[in-house]
């Protein structure tokens, strides 16, 4: 593998990422399944990087899931997005940052549509005005939250307490990176590094001391395509897609998987549990599974935040083996306590996937 070959391609796909004063919109899926992750992002932005990140509670979903499942028509989606832009404008911001990758894809798609078809933009302005009395400016910059973490990866490394190195062997951790489909597949130019060899997560891994793995099914979907799983009967397609990736990455013995989408880590994590229950297969070492992290979670542990504050306890594939490899301490008795110290209950241990419990 000639890494210089990839560097030449990465050079071709660079984009402008705003440096401060972000208007932040949340993800529908992320907060439900990974509580603590978006809070971690905000904590990093405010406490470590001293940036102005503003959220307005009046913002809604972008309707990306609905749009991509043919439940919400494009006109409606565009009008909902127009309202988001209106709230951004009214709050005095012009740099739009999304937590969700599907949102990022949808906002990009809508801005491109309006760019090529100004009459559509005009029509949506009319819709929004009639429905809510609102007007809006388009954002000056649209970035995904992972773009922002990428932009400040050196600063995070500088403040970091840990590196992505196996403390027992001294070697860099072997990491699989997986970007969300909506990040650069539709508009390769809008993703750092393009669609073929994306760089946004690779850049973070390189800066934080890890080693990136390229494996044959790197490009394959993780299974979170909405049509693949929304209806229970279809979920076989979704889990088959994820399994294809695991089978392909297994010979490379990755230490963990890094993603930048709310959906990808959800299934890369949960489907390992489902596969172990349905067919008894586990990946990773000793039946522990391959832990799955997102960029904010990883940045959080690099910076030395408590793993349970980040929300890693809700991962179905236990992250403890990874924390052990890096040398990050964690307090197992506190794992399933709420923030005010009450026991929130413990999941039952799965039959095949090893699980760390408070003994």
């Amino acid at each position: 593998m000639k890494i210089d070959g990839k560097r030449n391609i990465w050079k071709d796909y660079q984009k402008e990422i705003a440096a401060d004063r972000y208007f932040y919109v949340r993800s529908c899926v992320r907060q439900n399944f990974f509580p603590g992750s978006e809070k971690t992002f905000l904590r990093i932005m405010k406490d470590e990087l001293h940036k102005d990140v503003f959220e307005n509670a009046a913002h809604t979903t972008c309707s990306g899931i609905g749009y991509h499942s043919d439940v919400v028509p494009f006109e409606t989606a565009m009008t909902m997005v127009a309202r988001q832009f209106s709230i951004m404008t009214e709050s005095g911001y012009e740099n739009f940052t999304t937590s969700c990758i599907t949102s990022f894809g949808l906002y990009s798609e809508i801005l491109e549509t309006w760019h090529h078809f100004p009459e559509v933009e005009e029509r949506i302005r009319q819709h929004l005005l009639k429905a809510t009395g609102r007007t809006f400016n388009k954002p000056a910059n649209l970035s995904h939250a992972s773009d922002v973490i990428f932009k400040f990866r050196k600063e995070i490394a500088a403040n970091g307490k840990y590196k992505l190195i196996n403390k027992n062997t001294g070697k860099p951790l072997r990491i699989v990176e997986h970007i969300g489909c909506h990040y650069s597949r539709m508009f390769p130019g809008k993703g750092i590094g393009g669609a073929e060899y994306p760089y946004v997560l690779v850049g973070m891994i390189e800066e934080w001391g890890g080693e990136v793995i390229d494996y044959p099914e790197r490009r394959h979907c993780c299974g979170f395509g909405f049509r693949q799983y929304l209806v229970q009967a279809n979920r076989g397609y979704s889990i088959a897609s994820t399994k294809k990736k695991f089978d392909s990455m297994a010979p490379y013995k990755p230490d963990f998987i890094l993603t930048n989408c709310p959906g990808c880590p959800m299934f890369l994590d949960r489907w390992q549990y489902a596969l172990s229950e349905m067919e008894g297969i586990t990946y990773g070492e000793n039946g522990h599974g391959i832990p799955v992290l997102t960029y904010e979670e990883l940045a959080g542990i690099i910076l030395g935040y408590d793993p349970w504050d980040i929300g890693l306890q809700v991962h179905q594939v236990p992250v403890e083996p990874l924390l052990d490899k890096i040398g990050i301490p964690y307090d197992t008795p506190r794992k399933f306590l709420t923030m005010d110290g009450k026991m929130m209950g413990q999941p039952n241990a799965p039959s095949n996937l090893k699980f760390y419990q408070h003994e």
């Binding site: 593998m1 000639k2 390229d214």
Partner: protein
């Protein structure tokens, strides 16, 4: 007084045109930007369809210029000035040269395979181009993987950089299909234990003995042909390559691991061609290659009186056609100059 003609470009087209012009009594100056003449064909080991040595053609074409053609290498053309008397070609670090007529034979370049990002050229160690394979044959080197092993399976990929909207080349490069069949046979000949699979969209066996070569590749050499365009290439830990195509004849996606991949790169309009064309005011077609005065009946002349074209400046061409074309160009130049002199 001999009429002076300058031929710009010392590949097969330029050399053939120069030799033919000299035979017709012109005073010929051949300008070549490289350190030696020969263009692309000097790098080609054996030529389709008979697989005869490229050296033989180069020797013949070289000899055909005899001592009558003045050849200058390492020449850079800076600009061309047209007047009633003819053309003044301004050179870098040299006195300008003048002529009554110009032949543009600056040829083509091979498609830069780096642009097909999904094929991993320049990234995965065992992905090479057809030109690099031909070089291995030419230098008599052993055909091995990047870490010196003998390959057990090689894939040849057709249409790399041609017939491809994504890289901006809609046209067919014509000669790559037969080159692929030729190289498949040559690999099988060199490494009888190595399986060769060619992935194609169509097999363009357009000229004499090409279809017979395909027949021979299947019957005698057992080359596998799978109709389906390569969509992505990925690397295994041992640096072998995983290919994904569709087996269109069964309608199913297909996966194959190979030790090496050979990309059949197509023709693109050369940077020199575009540069020189601009200097004399020549138009290009939508495909980027130069336009002649009439595609059927005046394919050697241009809309600029006195400026003629020969060879792959006009688009993908094989050696047979290029030699015939260059000779025709010489004749057109002669006719032009005779009519000029008659005035």
């Amino acid at each position: 007084m001999n009429d002076k003609v300058i031929v710009i470009g010392g590949g097969v087209a330029g050399m053939t045109a120069a030799g033919a012009l000299a035979d017709l009594g012109m005073e010929v100056l051949l300008l070549e930007k490289d350190t030696r003449t020969g263009g692309h064909v000097k790098n080609w080991d054996r030529l389709f369809p008979s697989r005869r040595p490229g050296r033989e053609v180069m020797d013949f074409v070289g000899k055909s210029m005899g001592s009558d053609v003045e050849q200058r290498c390492n020449v850079i053309v800076n600009s061309i000035i047209r007047s009633d008397d003819g053309f003044s070609v301004q050179l870098e670090n040299s006195e300008p040269v003048t002529a009554k007529s110009l032949v543009i034979a600056t040829g083509y370049e091979l498609f830069d395979a780096h642009k097909k990002e999904e094929y991993g050229y320049g990234i995965y160690d065992n992905v090479i181009t057809s030109a690099e394979l031909e070089n291995i044959f030419m230098e008599g080197k052993k055909l091995t993987t990047h870490d010196g092993k003998t390959p057990a399976r090689i894939a040849i990929i057709h249409c790399v950089g041609s017939r491809d909207e994504k890289v901006g080349n809609l046209y067919c490069s014509k000669v790559c299909c037969v080159t692929g069949v030729k190289q498949a046979i040559e690999i099988r000949e060199m490494l009888p234990g190595c399986e060769v699979t060619s992935f194609y969209m169509d097999l363009r066996m357009y000229d004499r003995n090409f279809e017979e070569l395909y027949y021979e590749a299947q019957q005698k050499w057992g080359v596998n042909f799978i109709r389906g365009r390569l969509s992505e290439c990925a690397e295994n830990p041992d640096h072998s390559l995983v290919l994904k195509t569709e087996d269109t004849l069964t309608g199913r996606p297909l996966k194959l691991t190979v030790d090496m991949v050979v990309l059949l790169v197509g023709f693109v309009p050369g940077a020199e061609t575009r540069r020189i064309a601009q200097m004399v005011g020549l138009q290009s077609g939508a495909d980027g290659f130069l336009l002649s005065a009439d595609e059927h009946i005046l394919d050697n002349s241009t809309t600029v009186p006195g400026v003629f074209l020969a060879g792959a400046v006009k688009g993908p061409a094989c050696i047979v056609n290029t030699i015939a074309d260059a000779r025709a160009t010489a004749l057109q130049v002669k006719t032009f100059l005779s009519s000029q002199n008659a005035v």
